[in-house]
Structures are given as structure tokens and as C-alpha cells.
Amino acid sequence: MNDSWIQSNFPILNKRKNIEEFVYFDNACTTLRPKSVIDAMNKYYEEYPVCGGRSLHKLGKKVTDKVYETRFLVSQLIDARKEEIVFTRNTTESINSVAHSIDWREGDVVITSDKEHNSNLLPWIRLSKKIGIVHTTIKSNSDGYPDLTHLKDLLEKYKGRVRLIAVTLSSNLDGTTNPVAEIAKLGHKYGALILVDAAQGLPHQPVSVKRLGADFLAFSGHKMLGPSGTGVLYGKKKLLEEFEPFLIGGGTVVKSSFDSYCLENIPERFEAGLQDYAGIIGLGEAIRFIQKVTYKEIARRDLELNKYITSYLRSIERVNIVGAKEPEKRGGIVSFCVDGVDPHMIALMLDEAGIMVRSGQLCVHSWFSDKKIQGVVRISTYFYNTLEEAEYFAKTLSNILKAV
């Protein structure tokens, strides 16, 4: 894989005349899409834009086959069975689906880390208000990792009541990858289920739900080259079969009468209504593209860029990097703040130079409120970003810091 090969596969990069035109460093929000993904989606709309799973005609069968292919690819990608793969709109919907499918009882406990994205926080807060479950958080150590001793204390404290531990695989705030396997091992020992938010993790590292010990795993397609509006919920077969789906309707039942219905098998019973077939097919292409690039290459590029950016930022006195000091622990993310300067202001000034980054509290308001930090500027790279772009960023930020 070389830079020119990448450029040629991403229409937006292909059109770019020079890096001053734009540098996309907001990949943790959503990634760019390769041409193969766009083409696959267009092909669906142009050549077989029909229902899958229901209609017996040829085009319908083609859609069903394509959806099956993607389900198969996803299952392979995360080391699961294909019937354990439920298509959703995004990670948020996947997590909410779990939150609404468990038969909660008052006093049940949900544990999360203290820097979860709102998607993996608000559903639990709402349940605590509506049903009376207890939501509590694992404190992070100074290096950004969850304090496992504290987790153990919590499990002991709420022994027999902890129904779920919901943690992110990689933080969208600082890129830290949590020791999910250890957390899962501990959680299972106390009878808790494990929900993994892999929205940031899966685009950058290979994931095996078996090795992680995940009972549920959620991720979004759009953060890994796929179309927006596509997501996946992995659930262990046994659990999915036990669950009452959050949404039911078209496509979720085998038959129904005026007073009863018989649910479909998994995973279809969790996929209510007509699905985003184009998106699902596009997601399949995105996975193929990642497999072509390889996780090894993605990790290599992440580290190369993170090392450079971290080293540059460390050389500036006014800049503080959030999270682990070592770039290898932060994947493709570098979040930083500059003393006395509003992060949005820096982001806007970078934008004026064509560099797109994210600023603010990154949907992790709870962590920022707790730490009393106004916000950060987040650089999030992906394999199509280059060292030249990182150098341009460094040069631009130096000028900005001279001005503010």
C-alpha cells in the first residue's frame, strides 16, 4: 500500500490538488469513503434496488445474497457467528437496543468507564431514572486506563446485582484502548454481561469477540470507511435468542394473527422494517477494503503519525496532551489543549488553513465536567493520512500559537 494507491481509491483525496486545500484529521467522527464503497452503493440503486429477505424474485434474491455476504464478512471480522450479527443504524442504536432488551429490575447495576461517549452513558442514566437501576463508573488511572482494582471493588460492592459492564474498546477522547479482556474476565466472574463499544476500536485494530470475552459488541460503519447510517450489534447467540427485541414489525416475525405473533430467528428478529440495503452492501465493501489495507498497515500508519504529532506537541510548553503519554497507546488519536486558548478557536484557525479537526468535549461531557476542563482539540488520523499532512499541521499550529 502506498500513498498514491490510497489517493486513487478515495475520490475526495483524488480531487485534492495539494494538502493546503484540505487535510482531514477528523476520522474519529467519521472516515472518508473509498470509491469501491460508493460504487457498491450506487450499483444497488442502479441495478437491483429492491427488498431483500422477503421477495422471491431474482433481484430480491440478489439483495438477500449481498446482505448475507456482508453479514458473513462482519462475522469473520469480529470472529463471531453470522447469526450473531444484527444490522443497526449505528453504535448508538446498537447500545440502545441492548439497553431496551434486557429485563431490568430495580437495583440492577450497570458499570461503565468514566470516559464513555454519550452513546454508552445516556441509555444507562435514563434507565436509572426510569427503572431505578444503579449506574456507576470505574475511575481512570492517571494514564487514562480504567482502574481495575476499583472495578473489582465495585463488583464486590454490588455483588450479585451487576447485570452489565459497558465499556468502550478505544476511547474517542484520548484513543486509549481499554483492557477489555481483563474487564470481561472479571465481570464474568461476578455474573455480569459485557457490552463493548467498538466504534473507535474496530476501525484501527483487529477484534475478536471471543478473545475479548464480549457478550455484546457495537460499532458503526461510517467510522471504518462504510456508509453513514450503518452499524452493527453483535450479541451472543444465546443472549439474542433470550432477548425481546426492542423494535418489532416488518421482517421480525414468522407469522402473526390478530392477537399473537411468532418471532423470526435471530438475527432477523432484531432487524425491524426495511433495511438500509445499500448501506449494508457498502459496509461489506468497506470491510473488504480494510482487509486489503490490513490492520497491520493501519496500525503502522497510526503509530507513525501519532509519534510525529505527539513529539511535536510535546515540544510546545503551552500544550497538554490528554491521556497516555506514549503514542503507541493512543491509536490514531491525539487530543490536546493549549493553556488559555479556547479549543474551538484553534480548530477554527486550523480549518482556515484547511485542516479539519474536532474540538470541544467530543460527546464525553461527563468526563470534562468532572475534570473541569473546557474542551480539547482532537486530531484523529487514519491510514490515508500522511506524514506530509502531519508536518503541515505542525507548521500551521506553530503559526497559530505565535498569533494567540
Partner: protein, 306 residues
């Protein structure tokens, strides 16, 4: 302060664009928080500052640094300029409504509401002459003018209107129907003075004077007909005579009266009397002694009445 400027600017731009409407809303929120003694926590000021400094940064780091350092000062300066220019805009709008010119009564200069300046344009009476001092609106007066020498319609009103114009002048022709409408709607003592500016037939003033002397009632009809006719007709003896006949006059009687030496002297006297007003362009209308130069909208004349 930047929020106030942004609120003003984006409110205006928001009239045309939804994006700017949203920015105006953010700016308003920021201003509202500030005036209620709460910190502006919307980050709006930083966003504006970031955009501006970021743009300058592309040109010069020094310039960006300077702008960032004195951002609040610049915001204050722009705020004051905005207040001042808003004041001028309001004043200009009032002047335009009241006097038909943004810059005040009988004042020229650019006016956004009247960009072509049509409300202030006149036919110059000083063309070709070399006065020692160019007359201005301040010089215009009726104080030493004997209005008794001219044709008047007295209606026992406290309002007096004196219209000085010429039959063949474009701007007089524009003002005449407006003034006529005013006279129809309002009770006003009216004096009309014809003052030839353009090349008109040399007998026209003599005929008009003679007509006023022979039959005053028919004179006002003649006046209307002369303004209704093509302005080019004012150069033609034949056309003028046709209009006189159409007004119901005995043409021969008018001609005889016009040929009299006394008539010629009276017309000359009228011209000399008009010059005492120091008019520099037609139309010039005096309402209750106040001069109004150029063809104004109806409301301007109406507002000048008592």
C-alpha cells in the same frame, strides 16, 4: 463586544440566509447572557475570533497576532462605528422621508434610497452665466419679491405655495402634477411663476403674461395645457398658438396684448423679480417661505404644510 457586532451583522445577513440566521441566534444568546450579567458560554466569540484570526494567519502571522491581541479593541471600534453609522442611517432615512434626500432639505450627495438623485435634480438657471458666487439653498428667499406681479389663486389658507418652474424643463414637468395633486387635496394659496430656463419661443412669456391679464380663469387651464403638451412644442410659435386657442383664448387678442410695450416691460420686471429669489434651478417651490429645490415626492410637499 464582538457578539454585539456579530448580532447586528448576522441579523441583517440573516434576512437573506438561514445559515446567518443561526449565527445571529447564537450571537443573540451570547449578548443576552452578557446583558443579564452571565458569562457568554456559547463559545460564539471564540468562533468569530478563530475565523477572523485564522483568515489573517494565512496572510501574515504578525497581522494575525496583532489582531488577536487587540481583538476586543477592534470590536469596540467596530461597535462604535456601527452605532455611529446606524445613527446616520436612521437620520438619512428620516431625511429621505421628510425631505426626499438622505442629507437633508435641498442637500445633494449620495442617498441610498435615491441613488440616482432624481429628487434633487433641477434644470440649472445659471448655465452659461458666470455669477461671482454660486447661489445655494441658503440664499433662496421670497422676502423682497413682489409676488403681486404673478398670477395667484387665493383660497384664504394659512399655507402659501409659490412654484417657480419652466414649461419645457423636465424636472418642472415632473413636479407640476405632484404640486397640482397637493393643491387639489389641500387648501393652499398658490402662485405660479414661469421662469424660462431652456430654449423656449421668445413670445411664450409674453403670451402667458397677456393670457393672465386678459382672462385669469382661462389662464390656469392654459397653464395645465402647456405642461401637458410635448416640451418641444414650447419652441414652436405655431404649437403655442394652438394651445392658447385650445385654452379658449382669442389668439389675436393675446397677440395684440403681447405686442404692447407695457407687456414687455411687465415680463422683464417679472424676470428681474424672480432673480431676487436667487433661484439656481427649476423647479423651486416655496412652501410658507421655505424653499424646496427639485421634484420631490408628494409626502415631502405635504409635510411642509402647516
Amino acid at each position: 463586544m464582538a457578539c454585539i457586532i456579530a448580532l447586528i451583522v448576522f441579523s441583517v445577513m440573516g434576512l437573506f440566509s438561514a445559515t446567518h440566521r443561526q449565527l445571529a441566534k447564537e450571537a443573540f444568546d451570547c449578548v443576552f447572557r452578557r446583558v443579564t450579567f452571565r458569562p457568554c458560554n456559547t463559545g460564539f466569540k471564540e468562533k468569530i475570533r478563530g475565523r477572523i484570526v485564522g483568515k489573517l494567519l494565512r496572510r501574515s502571522v504578525k497581522l494575525a497576532k496583532f489582531s488577536n491581541k487587540y481583538f476586543e479593541v477592534f470590536a469596540w471600534i467596530f461597535f462604535l462605528l456601527t452605532v455611529v453609522s446606524t445613527g446616520y442611517t436612521v437620520k438619512g432615512g428620516y431625511n429621505f422621508y421628510r425631505y426626499g434626500s438622505c442629507n437633508g432639505l435641498n442637500q445633494g450627495g449620495f442617498c441610498a434610497f435615491d441613488p440616482t438623485g432624481k429628487n434633487n435634480t433641477t434644470s440649472s438657471v445659471t448655465d452659461g452665466s458666470c455669477p461671482n458666487k454660486q447661489p445655494t439653498a441658503e440664499d433662496l428667499t421670497l422676502s423682497s419679491v413682489d409676488l403681486g406681479l404673478f398670477q395667484s389663486k387665493k383660497v384664504d389658507s394659512e399655507n402659501n405655495l409659490v412654484f417657480i418652474g419652466c414649461y419645457s424643463c423636465d424636472y418642472t414637468r415632473k413636479a407640476y402634477p405632484v404640486v397640482k395633486k397637493l393643491l387639489e387635496k389641500k387648501n393652499v394659496n398658490y402662485t405660479f411663476i414661469h421662469f424660462s430656463v431652456k430654449d423656449e419661443n421668445e413670445n411664450l412669456p409674453l403670451y402667458v403674461y397677456s393670457a393672465s391679464k386678459i382672462d385669469q380663469n382661462k389662464y390656469w387651464r392654459l397653464n395645465d395645457l402647456l405642461f401637458e403638451a410635448d416640451k418641444g412644442d414650447m419652441q414652436s410659435q405655431e404649437k403655442i398658438e394652438q394651445i392658447i386657442t385650445k385654452a379658449g383664448y382669442d389668439l389675436q387678442a393675446i397677440k395684440d396684448e403681447a405686442n404692447k410695450e407695457a407687456t414687455k416691460q411687465a415680463v422683464q420686471k417679472q424676470i428681474e423679480e424672480v432673480r431676487k429669489t436667487h433661484i439656481y434651478g427649476t423647479p423651486t417651490v416655496f412652501i410658507n417661505g421655505k424653499p424646496i429645490v427639485g421634484p420631490k415626492p408628494y409626502r415631502v410637499y405635504k409635510l411642509m404644510l402647516k
